[in-house]
Amino acid sequence: MKREPLLNAAILLGLLLVPLWALWADAPFTITLATKVAILALAGVGLNIALGLGGLVSLGHATFFGIGGYAMGILASHAQSFVPLTEVPFLIEGTKSMPVIWLVAVVFSALAALAIGALSLRTSGVYFIMITLAFGQMFYYFAISWPAYGGEDGLSIYVRNGFPGLNTLDPIQFFAICYAILALVLFLAARLAASPFGLALGAARQNDERVQTVGMDSFRLRLVAFTISGAVTGLAGALFADLNRFVSPTMFSWQMSGEFIIFIILGGIGRLYGPVVGAALFIILEHFLGGLSDYWHIYLGAILLAVVLFARGGLIGALAGREVAHD
């Protein structure tokens, strides 16, 4: 029964050891891959707050990922061109500071999640899926057709943004930042799941009527969960943009939203560390299958189908047993 915490620790340790090994073996590309895993895992952990805890199947989380990405792209591009964002009503300049960018990314993706959630949570079930997907597409097309920030071509940022006291251009140092954020968010997400809010949200997922009968407003619970979830995925978007030093409308694409859900299911639905395992598995598959065949998505599709139809617990479920830990 207590295998899952042990497994979680091993997962976190593994994600740390791989880039450390790569540093020793002088394989910087592997460090970049590990960084990508950490960032995508963060996006998945964000989505998992809505999906795993709240049962909200959002097929539009790329929206928040993209907003986080563009928060970075827009602020950094203004900083690199020395043109302020606006001078009215007061001067707002661009910035190359990661903490400031993160803050902006979190605030704006949370606001977007609040607005989209307030509309789409009026419905449930398939309606919710279709509506989140549709709003994601709205942002995608908006990013394509708005020419000020690169339109379809996206935005390139020449130098990675800075973090006080660190050299972010050094792959291992940037990895350390992403890893630390992931670890912190995982810790907070675990606390969230065990908190009064987590208890109520989980109950609302299982039985909406029950939650209302004890006097709780389940719409509010879900809206707050969706907002937190969007904010975390937005933060991941800002980091992802910094990893690539590039943002484009593809960050908003529905495929991106689909991949976040894939991380969760590959790792195991309802598992806090599911998205971490899932993202790692995804990147490994992409790397190795992508090397074997240009058409690796066929294999990914087949694997995903097999997991959904025959192995619902995902990888953590297979390793830690079926029971999800309580309290």
């Binding site: 065990a194 009064p196 809010f197 109520a200 009527e209 209302q212 709780m216 309290d327």
Partner: protein
């Protein structure tokens, strides 16, 4: 005479041509068990849904503890003191028994928007939750998964969750259903005492329990209350014999 805690006036609900609830008025006074009986299809479920706030009436008012709650949500009514149990157990099935009662305790106390403190270590909530389990005789099962409970235990848990809300009024939808003779007898004894804490509007098919417990009985037929009175009055009422007990005998 004391002010009723729950007062329903002229409640009406129609689905197309079918009038499921026809000008229903009834009240619930402190300290009493008011049973609501009626044959299947009489509109009991429709009435309960309207009282609990799952369904808006076409006309009529509902007052809870002196407040008009007709326009309020289920959650708001619960916060004002309506403790409901369901005919078909409505619980968080993946949760443990304790988690389900903790949910009730949390709903009653408030403070659900706390994101980082561990709820299962909250001493005050635990105390309320465990006390409720103790009272219904489920303390032993606290760590079990709700989905693994027997049917009867789920009914007990329903009642326990309602207890954590310290309601002003209980609304119980067939709490005896499927309990078996021994379980029914025990719950009957429990409800008998519970009415001193808060009055109970009891919808029940188990006539032994109804006639043993109820201070007053209302009979619902085709959406309308055809009689309200004590057990003896109801037994003697010709309209009730005709419409309700007559059917039972025939079946």
């Amino acid at each position: 005479m004391t002010e009723p805690l729950l007062r329903i006036e002229g409640l009406r609900k129609a689905f197309g041509a079918l009038v499921a609830c026809n000008d229903v008025s009834l009240d619930l006074r402190p300290g009493e068990i008011h049973a609501l009986i009626g044959p299947n299809g009489a509109g009991k479920s429709t009435l309960i849904k309207q009282i609990a706030g799952n369904m808006a009436p076409d006309a009529g008012r509902i007052h809870l503890a002196g407040r008009d709650v007709t326009g309020l949500s289920t959650a708001a009514r619960a916060r004002l003191g309506l403790g409901r149990t369901f005919q078909i157990s409505s619980l968080a099935m993946e949760y443990t028994v304790l988690q389900n009662v903790m949910l009730g305790a949390l709903g009653h106390r408030g403070g659900v928007m706390r994101f980082l403190s561990p709820v299962m270590k909250d001493k005050a909530l635990l105390q309320t939750a465990r006390a409720a389990l103790e009272r219904v005789g489920l303390a032993e099962a606290a760590r079990r998964r709700t989905a693994d409970l027997s049917h009867g235990q789920r009914r007990q848990l329903e009642v326990a969750v309602a207890l954590t809300l310290s309601p002003r009024v209980f609304l119980m939808d067939e709490p005896m259903a499927g309990l078996g003779a021994e379980g029914s007898a025990r719950l009957t004894g429990f409800l008998d005492q519970l009415r001193q804490e808060a009055p109970i509007l009891l919808v029940e098919h188990d006539m032994d329990a109804v006639f043993a417990l109820a201070d007053r009985i209302s009979v619902l037929v085709y959406g309308a209350v055809i009689a309200t009175g004590t057990a003896d009055e109801i037994r003697a009422d010709p309209a009730v014999r005709e419409a309700y007990l007559g059917e039972e005998d025939a079946a």
